[in-house]
Symmetry: C2
Subunit: 334 residues, 2 copies
Amino acid sequence: MAKQPTVSDIARLAQVSPSTVSRVLTGSSPVHPAKSAAVLAAIERLNFRPNLTARALARGKSMVIGILTQSMASQFYGELAQGVEEGLSGSSYQCVFASGHWERAAEQAALDLLLARQVDGLIVLGGDHPDADLLAINEQIPLIAVGRLIAGLEDHCLRVENAAGAFQAVQHLIELGHRRIAHVSGIAAHIDARERRRGYEQALTTAGLPVDERLVVEGNFTEQSGLLALEALLARGVHFSAIFAANDQMAYGIRLGLYRRGLRVPEDVSLVGFDDLLGSAYTTPPLTTVRQSMLEQGRYAARGLLNLLADMPPNLPRVATDLVIRESTARVRG
Amino acid sequence: MAKQPTVSDIARLAQVSPSTVSRVLTGSSPVHPAKSAAVLAAIERLNFRPNLTARALARGKSMVIGILTQSMASQFYGELAQGVEEGLSGSSYQCVFASGHWERAAEQAALDLLLARQVDGLIVLGGDHPDADLLAINEQIPLIAVGRLIAGLEDHCLRVENAAGAFQAVQHLIELGHRRIAHVSGIAAHIDARERRRGYEQALTTAGLPVDERLVVEGNFTEQSGLLALEALLARGVHFSAIFAANDQMAYGIRLGLYRRGLRVPEDVSLVGFDDLLGSAYTTPPLTTVRQSMLEQGRYAARGLLNLLADMPPNLPRVATDLVIRESTARVRG
DNA sequence: TCTTTCTATGACAGCGGTTTCAAAACTCCT
DNA sequence: AGGAGTTTTGAAACCGCTGTCATAGAAAGA
């Protein structure tokens, strides 16, 4: 359990001053090749690793960016997180995660911790921390949000073409001859859910189809809620031949409910989701869904933050969605 | 962009010395109620938040524990990570993640970063970092491993009853009348995969059934590889009525392959997985699988590390598995 | 050869906390 | 009131590294 060597140890061994060691470490200014070599040798010999904590304190920059997420176990957030991590690799920033578990208090605690750790930037993944707080934080350190819209900070929020994606999905169903299309929406408080629902309604209207309130039921983005929503739909006794779910997870739940009722997909009812999670290509049948690459979004967010950190405008693109047609949708039965 | 207040600012405002501020912050020694109140008021007023980086440097402890994982997007590692996080909550330790993306170089880099950040402890989730390195690291800071076995550090490794779990799964199949049971194994370099395969063979042998090499094919734990494995199996032309997959993800792939071939689950072939990922209850049909709660494992690992940090033996339990019978297995057809 | 420029280097002062140590301020007794 | 025994408090050193600044040396010009 020998103590970690420090710059002074290296300095002593290499017969130079700590400053010089620091210089070869950071390359901040030239040092004589011979000394440089000596330092490097000492570093090698003692297996020295600069203490980033000390460096952060001295420099006033931690080179860490904080990711405020909701859950590490969720497929959705996991992919997003991975994307951010990828986007940051190559830069000298590292990321640390803190999750809010969809609870206000925990989210606040997580945020405080991140801030106390002196993160140089922040990426907020969903959640419902008040806009005002986030605005205030943005005064201190750059911030990017994904999956939520902060009033007054629109250009720091990564926006997805939710309505257009939903429109496409429903249009696809309509083209297959479906007229009675149900929608299992997401949490209404969530902007993505509202936009997707709007896209659903627009597609119907555009095709001259009526929007029937009885055909839409609200879920909460979980598989469980998809299953429940399907039950509710069935209980209403209204006819439908296709369902558009506001996300893939709910589509999975719906698919199970259908299976339980002996309804086949896509023969009896067509099903389309939204997200295109990694697993959606492997459901049975593979799910037709609106793809919004979370990996890509994470990367965009990271890049945006890097821009901000370099004093440039975030320059976030609007992320497009595309319909990936697999096997859960089919022409309506005659 | 006003600078963050520091202890000195608080000290000045509260008319005390920085030492006293530190004392009320840490409660390390008693301070006069009146002064304490003044300090607290100043903290409140300036919205002061101690700089954890500075504190870590001063105390020589970061209160951070590092999690070396492989991928944030993977369901499996995500659940594990979540478990660790949960296990740590309540303690004053925080965790930071670094992922190796299943690449030696990236893993090494991630590990270096964690160490440079002065983590107080380390939890290694899978990966294939050489045992020797890990042993060396354990000399410096406490370490716990999940999903791998480090020679010479067995009691720091969380062990799962893989063989017993696999045995149970196959036994279940045998009880349902299956005689020709295929196995899609995991990466042989992975101890879990080897143990599960052993359990499979033991169950067969115990029941007096032959172990047929042609019935087992090696996958790499991904859905894709499950699909491929099934193709390989089918191509061999050997008959089987059930498949035991070494993990759920491969089971998903197999299930899709079966669907593609028009083979019904469980009517034509029974399928059982291993892990019980969150999504496995929502596949069609819901997957019969061997449950090993990753959340729980994460929690155990965290608790073990906390023990180590408190200079106690890690005291890791051996994690049991249990068969959860859902709808992907059925009595063999007459 | 003696200035005049540069360049490489070391001393030193932080960064924002914590902690030790000794002095100061109160107790409580006699 | 005087002294011993407790608290409470501030000064100062330190954690490990960086960056500024002044100086010593080397190179260049006269």
